[in-house]
């Protein structure tokens, strides 16, 4: 039952805690790009790839009491902190689906800033272009974020590393 919800719960369970809606959006997108079986539909939005489906699913799981969503006020903005509740844990025990366990990748993604994940997911979004074209896209459509050459280069290296770990990771249950 609700397998797509259960996958997200598993992801949050494996990550422990995810801080920020933007970060969650980008982690799921990148995981999807690494062939993890997420099927939320993404479109390009203000901060890169974004899934309305994922947003609604998270709201459903919050309303069902499967996840805790804590709103934290920062000085000029607020952010949301997500973690699994006991009810969410219980729900996972009755779920009947197979999901890989890429905890190392998720931990690594979760340790990055949402700004960096926004850049990485944007570059994944344009993966069919050449590296030069990707760079040009980043500097044009993400001009307001003022990404530097160094950040873009670091993101390229990170994407390569993710693809490598995707190959080497067992993805075993």
């Amino acid at each position: 039952m609700l397998n797509e919800h259960a996958k997200l719960l598993t992801l949050i369970q494996q990550a422990g805690e995810i801080v920020g809606r933007k970060k969650l959006q980008k982690i799921v997108y990148i995981a999807k790009k690494l062939d993890l079986p997420f099927y939320e539909k993404y479109q390009f939005r203000m901060y890169g790839p974004y899934s309305e489906e994922l947003s609604v699913r998270m709201e459903e799981m919050r309303d069902l009491g499967f996840i805790s969503e804590v709103k934290e006020d920062k000085s000029s903005y607020h952010q949301f902190r997500y973690s699994l509740t006991e009810k969410g844990e219980e729900f996972l025990t009755i779920s009947d689906f197979d999901f890989p366990n890429p905890k190392a990748i998720l931990d690594d993604l979760n340790s990055k800033s949402s700004r960096f994940l926004e850049l990485v997911s944007t570059m994944f979004y344009f993966e069919e272009l050449t590296n030069e074209e990707i760079k040009e896209k980043v500097f044009t459509i993400k001009a307001k974020q003022n990404y530097t050459e160094e950040e873009v280069e670091e993101a390229f290296r990170y994407i390569d590393a993710l693809r490598q770990s995707k190959v080497s990771e067992s993805f075993a249950k």
Partner: protein, 434 residues
Amino acid sequence: MNGPFKKLSEEKVFKDPVHRYIHVRDELIWKLVGTREFQRLRRVRQLGTTYVTFHGAEHTRFNHSLGVYEIMRRMVETIEEKENWDPEERLVCLSAALLHDVGHGPFSHSFEKVFHTDHEHWTREIILGNTEVNRVLKEISDAFPQKVADVIGKTYDNKLVISLISSQIDADRMDYLQRDAFYTGVSYGHFDMERILRVMRPTEDQAVFKYSGMHAVEDYIMSRYQMYWQVYFHPVTRSAEVILSKILHRAKHLYEAGYEFKDEPRHFKSLFSGSITLEDYLKLDEAVIMYYFQMWQEEDDPILKDLCDRFMDRRLFKYVECDPSTQMKIWPELLQLFKEADIDPSYYLVIDSSSDLPYDFYRGGEDEERLPIHLLMPGGELRELSRKSDVVEAISGKKRTDHKLYFPKDFLEDESTHKEIKQRIKTLLMTQGG
């Protein structure tokens, strides 16, 4: 006008029940409408299975695409009064509006869920690939198809242009709300579009709206809200979608298991095997799908046959409201009972959630991933809509999640077999449904 931006010798018009007339002056637009990829949209209904609930909802993606083009044409006129636009930018807007849904297939929603395809991918393929659409667009310039694809993909460098076709208040939504209201016959989707267009003002990133026109914008937001719950997410339509998805799942499963269909499903083969080409995709339309559903009513597989009977003859699943957080306790028992009653729960016991048909309700606030609607105040400053409008504030970001459990009530009421098990199932479902 000569060169790539040629005008027709005289204006062409399409009679339209929503906008009265759709005006075409540009040769490019006229040629795009005539392409085989665009004409295909005549054979794809705009609202998928909604016609089982609202019998008038037989309008197609073709009608809607022309409507979006017409609204865009009027928006561009408004902008041109205030800014000097490159003539190519104008044609980028019009072409993107016309072609924004060209990649939609039959019953897109269910197809995309089952086969993990994406109509936006096909839109891009049609615009950039070896197609009539691509050849017509290239008459403007070699770079022109890419520009149109980027606007539709929301990755174009001119954010204002993107916002006209895809934002919280855009040509796409303004057409489908009015058109869907007209064809379904409901009274919720109406708002004063002329007024909205009159108070629209272009800025660098998006179009904003003069404060004096706020009530027209409020009406539009209310109409989005009402149409979602009354039409788009209607539980009977969802039931038909559930059955449609299960037909596709069953047919795919049978194909993979080596089942011999009486009539070879050749239009589906590449979809089943995950190797669909653009040419295969363009051959799919609703007539083709309905042909197979009718053929599959004659199949020996009882599940495929029954599901197709249900879809064709409108014997839909019934539903109960469902709270998965309490239902998880009875779910294993329910699954087991269905199996014991010889009713395969993979096809006949389905939870459908609001996230299965995500709809972007208006949400105010500046931290969301899409720009909220901004009002242009008399002093020149911008204010987010929900901060000025009590009506919009009242419906912004409110609880909007919902789950329903669908099942074949007729199977459960046939107590000629497994009587006690079916009675127990009904008790569980009714307890669940309240």
